[in-house]
């Protein structure tokens, strides 16, 4: 009698315990879900991002093309995405203990990028910067450009506080500052700027719209229409990038996207980066 009562209690306890178990967590998204939104947030800390589910992209080193990244650094990227039908907003977050936004001979900037096929087509260009005749569009955010655009690290005293300079020829008293002659002379000592290659602070800083048809072919588009903002968060960076959707994406059932992250403290620049392959991007009306 006693044993059957104990059994009953144990059975009841089992039922109660089973009822107390946490419900299984919702499955993590396996695609980037592009959630419809009336307007797109420009700031990474906008509450609107909460409407989009978070996709965690595992990153791998770029080790296909020399120069390669031989050791993995940033492990993963957290992505949220919203769209108003014409443009898409992406929030990229990743762990990065150091804030690297300087630009010296051996100082490299943190950065991130989104890559989309130039056209939504059934077959995809190579995820590694596209391929000849099958371009990819890239929007690149750079922490140093953001600093420069904010007016920081934009002069010699910013870069080298103890440096002194006797004379710049283009700041001679004989030249009227800001005159065409003075600006032309200053440009003679900055040929990249003269040629419209603004790698210190591009016109659309802190982001730049780019196109590539294979490794080593990256070039900036005549105009950057994307915008971007990065902010430091507890574990690293949170960056919002807003850019156009690729041609044909509106009528395609789904699209593809790839991501890359550069850790400046590790000397990552150019092809030395952590990246993903193509990740499926689906459009959803509601999360």
């Amino acid at each position: 009698m006693l044993s059957s009562r104990c059994f009953t209690y144990l059975a009841l306890l089992g039922v109660v315990a089973a009822g107390c178990q946490r419900p299984a967590p919702p499955a993590l998204p396996t695609t980037v879900q592009l959630v419809a939104a009336a307007s797109l947030p420009a700031e990474p800390d906008d509450p609107a991002w909460e409407r989009a589910p978070e996709f965690v992209a595992a990153l791998i080193p770029q080790d296909l093309v020399d120069p390669r990244l031989m050791q993995a650094t940033t492990a993963a990227l957290r992505v949220r995405a919203l769209t108003d039908g014409k443009r898409a907003a992406f929030r990229l977050e990743w762990a990065d203990a150091s804030e690297d936004n300087g630009a010296g001979p051996n100082t490299f900037s943190d950065g991130c990028a989104v890559q989309l096929p130039a056209k939504a087509e059934p077959t995809l260009p190579a995820p590694q910067m596209g391929e000849p005749g099958r371009a990819v569009h890239i929007t690149f955010w750079n922490a140093a450009w953001q600093e420069a655009a904010a007016g920081h690290r934009d002069s010699l005293p910013d870069l080298y506080p103890r440096a002194t300079v006797d004379h710049y020829p283009f700041e001679s008293a004989a030249l009227k500052q800001g005159s065409p002659e003075q600006r032309a002379m200053a440009d003679r000592y900055a040929p990249a700027r003269r040629l419209g290659n603004f790698m210190h602070r591009p016109p659309g800083a802190p982001v730049q719209d780019l196109v590539a048809e294979g490794p080593g072919t990256l070039r900036s588009l005549p105009e950057t229409t994307a915008t971007g903002t990065g902010k430091r968060i507890a574990d690293g960076w949170s960056v919002a990038i807003v850019r156009d959707l690729p041609e044909g994406f509106a009528s395609a059932p789904e699209g593809q996207i790839a991501f890359a992250v550069w850790e400046g403290a590790q000397g990552e620049v150019g092809s030395r980066k952590m990246r993903t392959g193509w990740v499926t991007m689906t459009r959803v009306e509601q999360p």
């Binding site: 390669r68 010699l156 004379h167 790698m199 080593g216």
Partner: protein, 375 residues
């Protein structure tokens, strides 16, 4: 990687691109024995090309005292340590070049200087290799020595900067072999500043691109020598065009010095870049040190140079250095005169083989005044 011929190594070697020698190759000979480190060359370059913002630390031309001088800091020492001990077997280099020693994932074995490495452009200036001991006497090589090494971009036949750039932003001009950074294409990755062993590519933080010595190509295109040559008060430098050794012409002054007399040698040929600035080595420094800098033929070059007083052609050609701003693609000795010529054998400049010497009397009787203070 392609197999290319590097005559300075006496063998083929691996390079990122196939062999593609330009129609003409810019080259230079620097006579180290004449350099006094006045840095006029450095200033001539600085005021012409790198007086802009972000260029303050750049020295496309610099003169450093060897053995301790270096700009950037320990540029040569760090690289030699990275490469490790290598050897020559006779005229052939038996070691690995920077391209052959490149680790996995890299195109070139290299290192990138930090801001601190650029902070001491005159480190080791005039520092001797050792102290003068009691009982020391003057002899050659000197017991205690140093010499001045003037450096510009070597406009290498196999540039490491060009090989290292993943974007193809660095190119070598077919018309003159000058190596340039395409300022419209560079994205400031700084693979070139890491790859160039001579550290003659510099990053401009205020343009975000890399910049380097351009061999004053606007002057070269007009048949004129670069600023650092034309302004050299020691007359240590000569610009010209070098041929591959099998096409060397004695009437070409650079060919004559490098290929015929073998008195001018490349800097660190073992790195494999086939640099095109050639040095007449200092006669007073120890062979062991010079061999590391200039390769296995350095002792023979020093002997040839020391015998130049009895070699009217060689002595004469050396006297043409610094005599005109024009590039002299050809030369000849005309009795006691040395003549610099154009490609069409038109005379550019004529100098005497021996400068006429006038010995002034210690005391000037006419004006009743002493002309020298040590009669």
């Amino acid at each position: 990687m392609a197999l290319v011929r590097n005559w300075q190594l006496g063998r083929e070697m691996s390079y990122w691109y196939p062999e593609n020698r330009p129609q003409k190759q810019f080259a230079a000979v620097f006579d180290i024995n004449k350099c006094i480190a006045c840095q006029t060359c450095t200033l001539a370059c600085k005021t012409t090309w790198t007086a802009g913002k972000g260029q303050e630390y750049m020295l496309w031309n610099n003169v450093e005292s060897k053995p301790y001088g270096c700009y950037p800091l320990a540029w040569d020492l760090k690289l030699l340590e990275l490469l490790g001990a290598q050897d020559w077997q006779g005229d052939s280099y038996a070691g690995r070049t920077l391209f052959e020693a490149a680790p996995a994932g890299e195109r070139v074995l290299g290192w990138r200087p930090t801001e601190r490495d650029y902070a001491y452009p005159n480190v080791g200036e005039d520092d001797c290799a050792g102290a003068v001991e009691t009982g020391a006497s003057l002899q050659v090589p000197h017991l205690v020595w140093f010499f001045y090494l003037a450096r510009i971009c070597n406009h290498c036949t196999y540039p490491a900067c060009l090989a290292a750039c993943p974007r193809g932003s660095i190119y070598k001009r077919q018309e003159d072999g000058i190596v340039l950074v395409d300022q419209s294409r560079c994205r400031g990755y700084r693979e070139c500043t890491k790859g160039c062993p001579y550290k003659k590519v510099f990053f401009n933080p205020l343009t975000g691109t890399s910049e380097k010595c351009i061999a004053c190509f606007p002057k070269i295109e007009q048949g004129l020598q670069p600023q650092c040559f034309a302004n050299c008060i020691g007359k240590i430098r000569m610009t010209g065009w070098i041929s591959p050794p099998d096409k060397a012409r004695p009437e070409n002054p650079i060919d004559y010095l490098v290929h015929i007399k073998k008195v001018a040698l490349p800097l660190f040929p073992q790195l494999g870049l086939e640099p095109n600035v050639y040095y007449i080595p200092p006669i007073h420094a120890p062979n062991t040190f010079l061999r590391q800098l200039f390769g296995p033929h350095v002792l023979a070059a020093v002997k040839t140079y020391r015998a130049a007083r009895d070699d009217l052609d060689l002595a004469g050609l050396l006297s043409l250095f610094g005599c005109t701003e024009q590039v002299m693609p050809a030369w000849k000795r005309d009795g006691d005169w040395i003549v610099g010529l154009t490609d069409e054998a038109k005379e550019i400049v004529r100098v005497p083989l021996r400068e006429p010497v006038h010995v002034a009397a210690a005391y000037d009787e006419k004006y009743q005044v002493a002309r020298v203070n040590c009669p």
